[in-house]
Every structure is written in C-alpha cells, then in structure tokens.
Amino acid sequence: MALRDLFRRGRPAGPQPEGVTVRLKPHNLPSERRAGRVFPGFLWWGLLLASAFYVAAHFSIVTGVWPQHGTSPGAGGTFIRDGVALAAWFAVLVALRGLGYRGSWALVVLPILIFSITRPTQFQLFTDPAYQATGSARARANDLKATRARLTSIERAYSEERRAVVYQGTPPEIPDPFARAEERELRSRGFFARSAAHFSVFVAPFALLVGFLLSREPGVMRWVRNRRLIPFVPTLGIFFVLTIGFTELGKVGRMTPWELFLPIFIVIWAATLAEDAYNLARPGAVIEGRRLLNLFLYGAAPVIPFLIIRELGLSIVLAGSMAAMLLVGTRRGWWAGLMLVVWAALVFAAFNVDERSATRLELAYDPYKDVSQMTEPQQEAWAAKLHQMKLFDANVIEGGLLGEGPGRGHAETAPNAADDGFITAIATHWGWAGAVSLVLLYTLFIVQLLSAAARESGAFERTLVTGVAMLIGIPFWLATLGGIRLIPLTGVATAFAAHGGAKLLASAFAVGLAAGVSHRRAREDIMDEALAPPVAGPHATGIRIR
C-alpha cells in the first residue's frame, strides 16, 4: 500500500490500516500549495465581471428587445431559469469550497465564464417569438413580430407631427406577436422534451458536482478500472438499442441523448488504456487477439451506433477523443500517423459515399452557385440546402467588427442559430471581436484541461482528463469553424456555449471528473511534500549554535 493511501479519506483498499489520521492545518501547508485552496484573485474578479455581464445583458434584452419583438410563451420561465442557473453555478463553487476543493479552480470557473458570456445570446434566441415556432405558426409569428417592431419603433422615435403623417388618423393596435403561434408551438414539442431542455440548464452545475464527487473518490475510480465491463456492457447495449430501434432522424422522442453516453465511454476507454498502455505502445504487441478485441470492443464499438444513425459529427468527436487518449496514453507518435491515415480514408469515403456529407462540403466551400447555370428543380433543391448557411453568413456579416449589442440584430432568423450556428449568433451580437474573445476563452479552457492532464502521472488519470479535454474541445472547433464555413457543418453541440441539454449535462459531468482528478493530484502532491523525508537544505544547515 502506498504511503499516501493512509491519508486518503473514505474507504481505503484492502484491510484497514493501522495508523493515525493526520489532519493538516492550513498554516502547516507550504505557501505555494496554499494557493490551491484559495480562490485565485483574477478568477474571482473574472467571475464577478462575468456575473455582472450576465445580469446586465439579460436586463438589456428584456428592456430593449422584448418590447419590440414581443416574447415567446414561457419567456418569463426562461428568464427565471437563467437566474436560477447562475445561482446554481455559484452554489457549486460554494459547495466545492466547502468540500475543500484543491484542484485547479480554472477548470471549474472557466466554464462558468463561458456560460455567462454566451447565455444571453441563447436567452434572446429562446425568448424570441418566432425562433422556436414551426411551419405556418412561424410565418405568422414573423409577420406579427415585424409589425410590432415597426410600430414600437415609430412610437418611440417619431415626433407627434411625423406620426400624424404616418397614421393620418387612429394608429393601429400593436399586436401580440405570439398569440396565435403559441398553441401550435406548445403542441409541437412534448412535455418531457421541453422540461429536459429547461432543467438541464440548472441541473448542469450539479452534474459537475456529481462528477467531482465520483472522481475524487479513489475507490470509485478503482472500481471502474477493475470492473469496466459492468458499466460498459449495459451502456453500449442501451446505446445500440436506442440507435437501432427508437431513432427517428437521429432523435429519440424529439431528444438527442447521445452526448450522455460519451463521458462513460471516455472513462472506460481511459481504464482500458491505463491497463494496457505499455503493450499498446509496442507495434508488435498490438497484434494479439485479446488486445485487438479490447481495441475493437472499447475503442471502435461505441462509434458504430453513431455511424448507424449517420451522426458523423459525434462519431468524429468520440473517435477523435479516443485517438488523442491513445496518443497520450501510449506516447507513441506512430499511433497519430496511423489514425491520420484512417481518418483521411474515412473522410474521403464519407464525402464520396454519403450524399449528406458531400452536400455539407459543397455548402462550406461553394454555397452561392450561379443560379443561371441550374435548372428550376436544381435551384429549388439547392435553395433548400443553402437556406441555413446563407443566414449564418448573414449573421456574421451583420455583426461586423463589434456586433449589434446584446440580443440585437436578427440572429433568430437563422434556423439552429442556438446550436449549429451558435458562433454566428455570437458574431451578430458581439461581432468579430466578441466571437474571437469567446474562442480565446474556450481555447484557454481546453488548454487548462490539457494542462491538468499533463500534471497527472498516472496513465488512467492522464488519459481520462485528456479525453475530457477532447470531448469538449473537438465539438467546439467543429461548430465554430463550421459556422464560418472553414469546414463543413457537422451539427454537433458545443458545451456551455450553445444549446443542447444533453451536451451541457455530459460536459458538466466530464468537467467534474477532471476537477476531481485535479483535486486528488493537488492533495497527493501536498501529502507527498509534507511527508517527504527532510533534505539538507539551507534552513537545515543554517542552525546557529550559541
């Protein structure tokens, strides 16, 4: 048993140790380690600023956008939900502090900053009268919204004389933009789907806490490592059953729960690599029946259902994360080369075989085809495909360099502006500068996760945190670069910044896992340092004898 196991809280492995529990008082900690317990100042100020931003941006939307466009049904609930979500994130920070969290605070605070900066954009989209409406209800909501916008603008800005010229009599009534669309919209989505979307926002902070509580317990992680088949088989089974039997257009009952499976597969894959990293690092040893079976079972099988439901984006996320973990776990560059070849072959096949992928490629690089060179049916077909992308482009262009301001602009006219095109909605509201700022903040978050992974000496922890970093990083890059047409759109959700309840929950849980690992590392470092044998140092040699 390692010495440090003596000082672990909870259930130690094996027989109960005979020893003493040492409780270190803060003043006994080395000064540089004490920093881990204290909330760093710059993060504190950042959190304060982000919270103020969050509140002020919501306020600006409520006072500046709602009166002009009107609101969707449940806008008030969304407002309260966002308020509760902010409180929940703070509650989690307080809880972590109370639980004696000693890991990297950046891992926990950066998602909150990202959430705070991006949520007002989501708030505007989801409280817009037309954004969630469908079919004729959407058209009707758009009409009424436009009429309302014009009338309120005239009422606000025109002098009495000018209003008299406009109306030449009694002014028309300002319409309620959602009066007719409301009922249809409410009917179009199931209660469970709507509830799940709402609850995920303020349940997410607690998912982070759960992830933390689980991963900080060595016993739980050890159990997963030793008994990984027990969680793996039912998870994969449910996954297969859902994708094969209950999926319609990639959704189960109007929900996309696929993201929830990803952290589980990542943890199990980390356990697999930790067990066999040494052999996987040797090309000769890889060609062995049991090892190949492991690679297929834990590494390839979870990707297959995504391919069945043609979720190319999520398959890239999972496969990419696992590949990065393999690379980090084995520290062998040839894995990277091999994976690149496989990846290139798959991409080539996807864009040549799969019509949907080929279309997405065309949409990214040549969206505005010459109308005159196409027949009428071709024009119709391409116009339908182009619809979303041209509105994403319009979002980006409308935002310009500094954006239109919180909730301003017309980002809501683009379908899926809250998920696939979240970066374009950010661009409309905050411009190039704001979108790049968000990208940098997110980059910092991913780098902090990678940094936490690099600090780990254990193969399991290291690959797990790397997997978490990739699980969050890959979708982010797919969505952001796809939104501005640098790569084809893949339709994957982005954690903390875009809409997607399952993604938010899964990512918060995954961040919690990373935070737990980071916490354990910090504690173990402190213990190791505190219990290290004294070395002859200047303070030992400099004893003055009178």
Binding site: A56, A157, V371, E380, H410
Partner: protein, 530 residues
C-alpha cells in the same frame, strides 16, 4: 442613451475577457516551454492556438468578402430569406425627403395602408425609376432606396444605436416631388419611352427626373445611350465661338454633298442666307452645320475638335469605344451611387481616316455620336452657368461640397449660346413651346433634335434647353428625350414649354438654387474657374 452606453460597456467586457484569455494563454505557453513541461501537452495547446488564429482569420475573411457574400445571398433571395423579410417589414428606415424637406412631401416614408404601416412612395410610378417603389419595387437595383440603403438604415441618433430596430436617418434629395410628378404625367401622356430631366443651373442638382422603363431596366435618362441629333449642333456652335471665329452668314441649301454622299436638311428646308452660328441653331440647318464643321476642320484642325469635346465632357475615341465611366461625374458622398449610377461617357468616334461625310454626320449629331440625356443636361447646365460645369447631384447634403466647378467654355460663348437658344424657341424650330408658357414671366431657350435611328419607324426626338426666371437668369435645364418621338420641335418642345409653365407656377418652391434655405444664388458663378 443609457442603454447604448450599457451595450458598449458589455461589448468592452467581452473583449476584455478575450484579452485576458490571450494573456493567460501566452503566459501558459511561455511557462510550459520554460519549465520544459510535457511535449504532447504543449503541442496540443499550440494546436488549439493555431485553431483560434484560424478562426479569427476565417471570420475576418467573411467580413472582408461581405459584399460578395451578400450579392450571392441576394441571388438566392427569391427562395425565401426571412432576414430580409424581417428587415423589410420590421425596420424603420429613414425617410427620403424631397427638395422642400417637408414630411408631407416625402418621396418615401411610412404610411398606413390596408391597416398596416408600410413603406409608401407617394410619387408612385413617377418616382419608381429613380427613388424606388412602384411596380416591381423589389427588383429595382438603381434606385435611391436601394443604393442609399445603408444610409437610410444608419441609426439617426446615438441613442438609437442600441435599439433592435434602429430608426434610420432621413435623406433629403434635391429632387422636388411636384415637378417630378408633373414631368412624369407629361411623359406618360406621350405613350413613348423617354426621359425628362430638370437640373438646377447654379448648383447642378437634379430637380425633376421622370423616365420610362421597367423595374429591371437601368434608368432611361441616365444610363441609356441615344443619338443626339441636332442637339449636338450646340457643341459645334460652341466651338465656333470658342475658337474666336466671327459671326457670319452662310446659305442653308436643302442638301450638301460630302464625299460620296449627301446630307439633307430636315424635310429639305432651305434658306438663302442665315447667320452663323445663331441662325444655324435657330432653324437647325444641317447643311450649314456641316459647312461650319468642315470649315473649322480646315482652319483649326481635328485636334481642336478633340480638345473642345473633351472639355465639354465628351470622350473622343478612335478604335474601340471607351468603357470607363467618368469617375467624378456625380457630386455624391455615396460610392455605391457613383459606382452604379454613373452614366456611360458621351462618346464621339474620331476615325483615324475620316471621310467628309463622317465628319458632317458628327456635326449634326448622327453617326458615331452617343449621348445620355443626363450628360446633355450637364452640358446645358454649364451653358446656363456662364460656362462653368458642375457635377450633378441628388443629395442635398452635397450641395455645400460641390466646389467651384470646371470651366468648359468662355463666358461669352455661353452667353452667345443662350441667346441663340432663346431664338430657337422664339422664332425657330421650337416655336410650339412658346404658347405653353406665355404670360408666366418665364422664358425658355433650347435646341431641338430629331435623330434618325437605323431601322426605326420614327426618329428619336429631343429638346434640350434652359428655363429663365422673371429676372432673366437661367434657372433650370430642361432635357426631353422621346424614343421614336418624331420631330424634336413638336412633343419634346411642347413638354419643355409645359414644364416651364409649371416651374413658373411654383414661386414658393424651395429648390437648391432658389436661395430659400438652399445655396445662395450665383455661388458657382462667383467661385467658378474662369
């Protein structure tokens, strides 16, 4: 106001987060390299930074190509564009005001129609060709509404900047609603294609513009070439006086032999002796004009013509026709307007080896001479303004920016031309116009043009002239061009007379050159480069 400030602060906060993240990333990379941390982590982190840079570039690239992308988007607009629909229906653009600046006379404003507040264009079809609205408004690409769209959407105040649907800035034009409507009614009554342009002599501003043409057509009076016919004799007469040649007398035979062909007068009119150049203009004698041109070529050389035409704003060319438009044709603060609405240059082909017949054809505005009605109006404006040409403008705000103008002919030449043009209406080819504005105290001078067009059943008809106020000062140009309109001295001259009468009946009308709320009289003359 408070909201605007708050929104700018919020933008600042987002940028501050970005800056903070960038600093943190730079410090992390520096520390990682200095402390020789794990290579894979540094590589992955650097990869992320490369992706961030790639994003910044990719986003900037879209903004850089915004115009091209918007054009592409517009090409696919007819299959549905909710953003455009919302903008069109929800935005409150600035009003397009006419020369009076009064809300009641606005050329484009908001009004209640079918129970809904809509953008309305009180001029209807009369303003559709230049202002916007009318039939097929969505397809009109050459209108003020379209080309000044960004200005009309620009928030009118600082406080409006933070509004979701910012109320746009008004645009006051020099175009006057009443004369434009009157001009359109006169044009419409002819059932012919054509254009009527009234331009202020002292400021160069457009006062009235009416033209035929469908939604997809470029403005007929601005972008379309037409043979000028006898209107071009004004340029020949101007050169005569510019060169210091004396007034003289010449016969006006019914035809003249030029090389292997003959050039005839309209309906083979003949006069035993007419004064040159005034009489030539008065009766529009082709044969005398040809003789004048041949004589001037003999005495002054071809280069004198080339130089004079260039000075008048006409482009001479040898082999290929010139394609580049005059860059500073308009006095405008809107590059989109200049790009889209600059007319093609008036062009006169000077073949390397000219026959006498070709030379004669140019003198009477036939053959290789192409003009636009607006360019002819600009030439007349210079004549009315004592020889100083000012760029036309449609924007009231630009009146102060018009500069001193460009002298294209001597003041005496301009005066002589004005006097000759007055005789054309008084006792020449445009006598029909006289009765139209009788007893108004106003006067009209001009030149008629009847231009034969190959394979056309009737010639194109012109009247290009100047309207004089009661004080005898040239106030406005008037150009009437009717495609297949027959004789210039008939319908076009009559329309010019009617327009003169109309302008005379609008004593209270504030036009840019009227001195009421506009630019002081005589500014251009005083400041003109003489």
């Amino acid at each position: 106001m408070l909201e605007t400030v708050l929104n700018w602060i919020l933008r600042g906060v987002v940028i501050a987060f970005g800056a903070g993240a960038l600093i943190a990333l730079a410090r992390w990379v520096r520390a990682a390299i200095r402390e020789r941390r794990e290579r894979w982590a540094i590589r992955l982190a650097l990869g992320m930074l490369v992706l961030a840079a790639l994003y910044a570039w990719g986003h900037a690239r879209l903004l850089w190509n915004a115009e091209e992308i918007t054009e592409g988007r517009m090409a696919w607009r007819r299959w549905g564009d909710p953003r455009e629909a919302e903008r069109a229906r929800g935005d409150v653009r600035g009003w397009i005001l006419d020369c009076t600046g009064e809300d009641e006379r606005a050329l484009a404003r908001y009004g209640l129609r079918d129970g809904e507040v809509q953008r309305v264009y009180p001029l209807g079809e009369a303003g559709a060709n230049l202002v916007g609205g009318g039939r097929g408004a969505e397809d009109r690409d050459y209108t003020v509404e379209r080309l000044f769209a960004s200005r009309l959407r620009e928030p009118r105040t600082f406080g409006e900047q933070s509004e979701l649907h910012a109320v746009g800035t008004d645009l006051r034009l020099t175009l006057c609603a009443a004369p434009t409507r009157a001009a359109y009614q006169l044009l419409d009554a002819t059932n012919l294609k054509g254009a009527i342009i009234v331009q202020d002599v002292q400021t160069g501003s457009l006062i009235a513009y009416a033209a035929s043409g469908g939604p997809e057509d470029p403005p007929f009076g601005i972008k379309r070439y037409a043979p000028p016919g006898s209107v071009f004799k004004l340029a020949v007469a101007a050169l005569w006086w510019e060169s210091g040649l004396p007034d003289t007398r010449m016969p006006c035979p019914p035809s003249i032999q030029t090389g292997n062909a003959r050039i005839r007068n309209f309906e083979s009119h003949e006069y035993a002796s007419i004064s040159i150049p005034t009489g030539m203009l008065r009766v529009s004698c082709n044969t005398a004009a040809v003789r004048m041109a041949l004589e001037m070529r003999e005495r002054l050389g071809v280069d004198a013509f080339r130089d004079a035409y260039q000075r008048f704003g006409f482009v001479t060319y040898g082999e290929g026709p010139p394609s580049a438009a005059e860059p500073d044709f308009w006095n405008t603060g809107n590059p989109a307007w200049a790009r889209r609405m600059t007319p093609p240059p008036v062009r006169v082909r000077f073949a390397p080896r000219f026959t006498a017949h070709e030379w004669g054809q140019i003198a009477i505005g036939q053959g290789p001479v192409d003009v636009t009605p607006l360019a002819i109006s600009r030439f007349l404006q210079a004549i009315g303004n004592g020889g100083v040409m000012l760029p036309p403008t449609l924007e009231w705000d630009q009146l102060e920016e018009r500069g001193a103008g460009r002298r294209i002919m001597k003041e005496t030449t301009a005066r002589n031309l004005q006097e000759a043009m007055l005789t054309v209406v008084d006792s020449g080819t445009a006598q029909l116009a006289k009765a139209r504005f009788a007893n108004t105290g106003w006067d009209l001078g001009g030149k008629t043009g009847t231009a034969d067009v190959a394979n056309a059943p009737r010639p194109d008809a012109w009247f290009a002239g100047l309207m004089y106020g009661p004080d005898g000062r040239a106030r406005y140009t008037i150009v009437v061009y009717l495609q297949r309109g027959g004789q210039g001295g008939r319908a076009p001259a009559t329309i010019a007379g009617e327009m003169t009468k109309f302008m005379a009946q609008q004593p209270q009308m504030v036009t840019p050159g009227s001195g009421e709320g506009g630019v002081p009289r005589g500014t251009a003359m005083a400041g003109g480069a003489r």
